[in-house]
């Protein structure tokens, strides 16, 4: 077993110690103007497939495979400060450290914006916002908020940006029993993928999203349009739709993303998942896949294609802490950058299967 112990892992262990040592509630109030909070995940992944590296996030250049165990895939640490400036003006800064396209844990600023509340239902934000691309895209790094070890990687295989610097408008409107959360966003984003050739110059992004909530059911719709990037990666449109029903004792959820990309071709990704909550345990299952619908001008064939069957369990064993175990079988359906893998070797064949075991510990504070 090869485990890389980095300074970042040492930092998580320290942070975890802090969480466990704290008897008090989630948020530490220094005074009425600033609140601090944080989150993190410590995880290990084992894959029995040595011809390619199993990865947890599309931007990761390496994973579990050739060196069967990896502690870098799911592990992360984030901190957030919320500022209350006046009754209607607030700010937020969130910094995250996780395995990035360069294979480092360089901290990055995920959120940094000022929010002005015009009414309780109409808010304007200026600064950096995480893009709403798929269900959970904006909390994918906060393992504690997810029912699974991680979001199904296929849904994230869109080449969309992670966050944008610009302006957005949030409007909440209630019609009968349905609440709509409308979001319009304009900004600039950069798409950074492993490899120097995939570091883009910033492109303009426009986003329209709507989340309709009806009791315990929610429907998510999103449209994103990227323009003006110098590399082809970011010239794309993304259309997403997802549905979740979660009355508490059990849940079902499904999400889909269609991306139009002249260079890489058009892709359709989707997943369905369900689970039950039995006391402190919440077992679940997921089926996820991504399919190339066309070959783009890049010449890469069936880009991203793979499918995954997964089963796991979340265990809420202590306050603000959970542990998860997930088993999954991923089938490679393309040798050109199958979504769940990096570094696909020459001996890999279509139809090859990787059996992957993941263990994580999530915390919030």
């Amino acid at each position: 077993m090869v485990l890389k112990v980095t300074p970042a892992i040492a930092a998580w262990v320290l942070a975890l110690g802090t969480v466990m040592g704290r008897a008090d509630a989630a948020i530490d109030t220094i005074d009425q103007y600033v609140t601090f909070s944080g989150f993190g995940t410590l995880g290990v992944v084992h894959s029995d497939y040595s011809q390619a590296d199993f990865i947890a996030h599309v931007v990761q250049p390496r994973g579990a495979g050739f060196t069967s165990w990896s502690a870098t895939l799911d592990s992360d640490l984030g901190g957030q400060a919320n500022f209350t400036l006046t009754d209607s003006l607030s700010g937020v800064v969130q910094v995250l450290s996780r395995d990035d396209p360069n294979g480092h844990f360089t901290p990055s600023v995920e959120w940094a914006n000022l929010q002005y509340e015009i009414t309780s239902d109409l808010k304007v934000r200026l600064g950096r916002m995480v893009l709403p691309t798929y269900e959970h895209s904006d909390t994918q790094n906060v393992g504690y908020t997810l029912p699974w070890v991680r979001i199904p990687i296929e849904i994230a295989y869109t080449d969309a940006g992670l966050h944008s610097d610009g302006l957005d408008v949030l409007y909440r409107v209630k019609t009968g029993s349905v609440t709509q959360n409308l979001q319009v966003q304009w900004g600039r984003t950069a798409v950074d993928l492993p490899g120097i050739e995939f570091t883009s110059t910033p492109s303009a992004v426009a986003v329209f999203s709507d989340t309709l909530q009806y009791g315990d059911a929610s429907l998510r719709l999103v449209y994103q349009k990227y323009d003006g990037a110098r590399i082809p990666t970011a010239r794309l449109q993304v259309i997403g739709a997802g549905l979740t029903y979660d009355p508490g004792a059990w849940f079902v959820t499904g999400d889909s993303n269609y991306s139009r990309n002249k260079f890489f071709g058009n892709l359709l990704a989707w997943y369905v998942s369900g689970g039950v909550r039995l006391g402190h345990f919440a077992p679940y299952a997921i089926y996820s896949t991504t399919r190339a619908l066309s070959d783009g001008t890049s010449g890469l064939k069936s880009l991203g294609n793979d499918h995954t069957m997964a089963a796991g369990v979340r265990w809420d064993f202590a306050k603000n802490l959970d542990a998860k175990l997930q088993l999954q079988q991923v089938t490679i359906d393309s040798l050109d950058d199958s979504a769940s893998f990096a570094d696909i070797g020459p001996s890999a064949r279509i139809g090859d299967k990787a059996n992957v075991l993941s263990l994580t510990l999530d915390f919030v504070f």
């Binding site: 906060v142 908020t145 508490g248 004792a249």
Partner: protein
């Protein structure tokens, strides 16, 4: 257990659930201590969820910059005081703790 506010504005169980699950900003929810019996009972009866699920839901709201969790006060006396001071505030307390400073908006059985 009863849901209280200052104006005795009628509120349904579903509306209370939406409020404490962060689905509406129509009122300001006031919470009890997460370790208290009334906290567990309230979330179980009104939302069908346990404290870990509530923590996960509010963590999602907090870390996506869409709101902050309801303020947790140590006991029903503190909740009554907060509700009595804010026309938009809603809280939950034991039925036996009701007094003239606040009004009962909904009884939860």
């Amino acid at each position: 257990m009863v849901i209280v506010n200052l104006a005795a504005a009628p509120i349904t169980k579903d509306q209370v659930a939406d409020l404490y699950l962060g689905r509406t900003d129509a009122w300001t929810p006031i919470d009890q201590d997460v370790a208290s019996g009334i906290y567990v009972e309230f979330y179980k009866k009104v939302t069908g969820r346990d404290s870990a699920q509530i923590k996960a839901i509010w963590s999602r709201i907090l870390f996506t910059n869409r709101g902050v969790p309801p303020k947790q006060l140590p006991d029903s006396a503190a909740v009554k005081k907060a509700v009595a001071a804010n026309l938009k505030a809603v809280g939950y307390i034991e039925k036996s703790a009701v007094d003239a400073s606040i009004k009962v908006a909904l009884q939860v059985d």
